[in-house]
């Protein structure tokens, strides 16, 4: 029983990370039809800059962590908005080229990160409480999992509130539904594009800081490896659906944890099999709108 609880909560924690990446991907795809390969780089830069900030303030204290998280989110948002403004916007409605540009950006930025911070992982120090465990139903659960879950839920709630109750949220929701119609009504959707990129980038940057705590280190490839699972999550959840991304994140991560434990470390394969199964049974994903 204690193992099941441990796997469940750890899975939820990992799912929280996936969600932070997948939410942005899904929103961006839903509104603009862009598959953003550079999303992993937004996460990595958030993680690195966040770590630099925390290191300079005071290592291992709570407020340094908070500062790191805020900086990570800000940096992610800025870089993402700049990417949209300078690269994606020039290729309006040419989806393949947009994907290609983000691929190029991903390759170049990972190389640049390696050049600046080296190829070896950089170990981070976080507040000592996060490194300890709490006992729930006999399972000793690392505390950082709780923080991941709480932050991801907060981000989910914030994004949902933003989409539901603000004017820009309304434009974004309408744009996902039917972009042509929104443009026809005289609303400049392009500002919404930048905004969506910024939101996705902020979530990814925040995810980067959290990922560095989850793994205990930052490396230039941390974003790329999470990105692949985030892709799987967005396809399983249904492209463009935020709720789908949230549900699929949890399902994928929990499945991965259980397969890793009970089936001899086959978590990654189990996830891909799950993806294949979803595609065979329901090609549009769990909550996807169109095929």
């Amino acid at each position: 029983m204690s193992t099941v609880v441990l796997l469940l909560i750890t899975g939820l924690g990992l799912g929280a990370l996936y969600f932070l990446v997948a939410s942005g991907l899904s929103l961006i795809y839903g509104l603009m039809g862009v598959l953003n390969f550079a999303h992993g780089s937004f996460l990595t830069i958030g993680a690195f800059i966040g770590w630099e900030v925390a290191r300079r303030l005071s290592d291992g204290s709570w407020w340094a962590l908070a500062a790191a998280m805020i900086t990570g989110a800000l940096v992610g948002a800025l870089v993402a908005a700049a990417t949209e403004f300078f690269l994606i916007r020039r290729l309006y409605n040419r989806h393949i080229e947009q994907v290609l540009v983000t691929v190029g950006l991903a390759l170049a930025s990972v190389a640049l990160f390696e050049g600046i911070w080296g190829t070896d992982p950089t170990y981070v120090t976080s507040p000592s409480w996060l490194g300890q465990t709490t006992e729930i139903l006999g399972a000793r659960i690392p505390n950082n999992r709780f923080m991941l879950i709480v932050v991801a839920v907060l981000v989910l709630v914030a994004i949902v509130l933003f989409l539901k109750f603000t004017r820009y949220g309304l434009i974004i929701r309408a744009g996902v539904e039917n972009r042509l119609m929104v443009t026809a009504l005289g609303i400049d959707v392009r500002r919404a594009f930048t905004l969506v990129f910024a939101i996705g980038g902020a979530a990814a940057g925040l995810g980067g800081v959290l990922a560095s705590i989850y793994y205990g280190y930052v490396s230039a490839h941390i974003g790329g490896s999470l990105l692949i699972f985030a892709f799987i999550v967005t396809v399983i959840g249904g492209l463009g659906s935020l709720a789908g991304a949230a549900i699929a994140s949890v399902l994928v991560a929990v499945l991965q944890q259980f397969a890793n434990f009970y089936l001899g470390g086959t978590g990654d394969l189990a996830v891909v099999l799950a993806l294949a199964a979803v595609l065979l049974l329901r090609p549009r994903g769990l909550l996807g709108a169109k095929a």
Partner: protein, 369 residues
């Protein structure tokens, strides 16, 4: 001059002359400083050229998917890795005593290509159920799974992180050792020519026309009464088999293979190559591969040079990362040179470019349906 020669004849002659020149290269003494590490007969240069040609063969097989069929696959490295690892594993485990060694070797290569075909058919049968961006993500997921399997070293067969070393006892002597690099070079050239001819044949075949039509307008193809699924699957599988062939030759050339070739990043490199050369053109893929490989090699050499080490950090860090320069170059090509390197000449030949980079049609039709 041009009026005397019909275009196809001129093309075939030029192609044959180029292949002949490439075949004679190991016997010549040509030095191009800055591009080749040494004279063309030296093993180092031959190795580099053979490597470039195998990447070109792989890029051609990717061209079948992306250029011809408009399928943006992020999993093509899987089949290349299947070829490289497949041949290594087959050679190690398949040695029937009743068969002469050379025949065993050829049979092993055929089995490897067949593995590539079957694996691609399996992966394709699932991933082709979705189109466009979803297809890209699904193939990426499969490639990632392949990469995980290779790294996990199942049954001690793939060698995990260390990679797999070629068991030379099963390989004909003429393909082993530095002195025989020129034989490997000729092998690579043969693989490239074979792949080129197969790609040409597929493009001119009925299946090739159907997938090209599907790329342009899937709805119309469906209305005519053709189901694009199976034709796409066929093209996907052929591309997989060709990639496996290139992978097998790659194993022989490098006398080993590392898990790097199974990573999704390797597919991204392939995509960069095809786009750099020019999407939709066979020789664009070849050109892109050769330019990319040589650039990569030269930039790596440059990164280690003293000139770079003496620069201030702001310049030194970006310039010492070949991938950073190549990635930036790639972004610039996508933004400002949509036809790639091959498009440079093409644009001057036809001022009104008939079509933009192919491939995007698949996504557009998906949206309009």
């Amino acid at each position: 001059m041009r009026s005397l020669w019909s275009r196809p004849v001129a093309k075939i002659t030029a192609g044959a002359a180029l292949v002949l020149f490439m075949a004679l290269l190991p016997l010549l003494n040509i030095t191009i400083p800055g591009i080749f590490p040494g004279a063309t007969y030296t093993p180092g240069t031959l190795q580099l050229l053979a490597y470039a040609m195998l990447i070109a063969a792989l890029a051609l097989s990717y061209h079948l998917l992306f250029g011809l069929a408009g399928m943006l696959s992020f999993g093509h490295a899987l089949f290349f890795a299947a070829g490289a690892y497949g041949l290594g594993i087959v050679l190690r485990n398949f040695s029937p005593t009743w068969m002469p060694a050379d025949v065993t070797f050829i049979v092993a290569i055929l089995i490897t290509v067949l593995i590539g075909f079957v694996l691609a058919a399996l992966v394709g049968s699932v991933s082709l159920r979705v189109t466009g961006i979803s297809f890209a993500m699904v193939t990426l997921a499969f490639a990632q799974a392949g990469s995980v399997v290779v790294r996990r070293n199942p049954g001690g067969q793939t060698g995990g992180e260390e990679g797999l070393t070629l068991d030379v006892s099963q390989v004909p002597d003429s393909l082993v050792g530095v002195l025989n690099t020129r034989n490997l070079y000729w092998l690579a050239l043969a693989v490239l020519v074979t792949v080129y001819l197969v790609v040409l044949w597929v493009e001119k075949s009925r299946a090739g026309h159907v997938v090209a039509a599907t790329r342009e307008n899937e709805l119309r193809v469906r209305v005519i009464g053709i189901r694009p699924y199976f034709v796409r699957l066929l093209i996907f599988s052929i591309a997989g088999a060709l990639a496996a062939l290139a992978g097998a030759a790659f194993l022989l050339l490098q006398s080993g293979v590392s898990p790097r070739v199974a990573t999704p990043d390797f597919t991204l490199t392939l995509l960069v190559i095809v786009v750099l050369g020019g999407v939709g053109l066979r020789w664009g893929a070849v050109l892109g591969a050769i330019v990319y490989t040589l650039l990569d090699q030269r930039l790596t050499a440059l990164a280690g040079s003293e000139f770079i080490a003496g620069l201030p950090d702001v310049l030194r860090i970006p310039l010492s990362q070949p991938l950073f320069i190549l990635g930036t170059l790639f972004i610039l090509v996508v933004l400002f040179l949509p036809g790639g390197l091959a498009g440079l000449t093409r644009r001057s030949a036809w001022p009104h470019r008939p079509k933009r980079g192919s491939g995007e049609r698949m996504l557009e039709t998906e949206e309009t349906i």
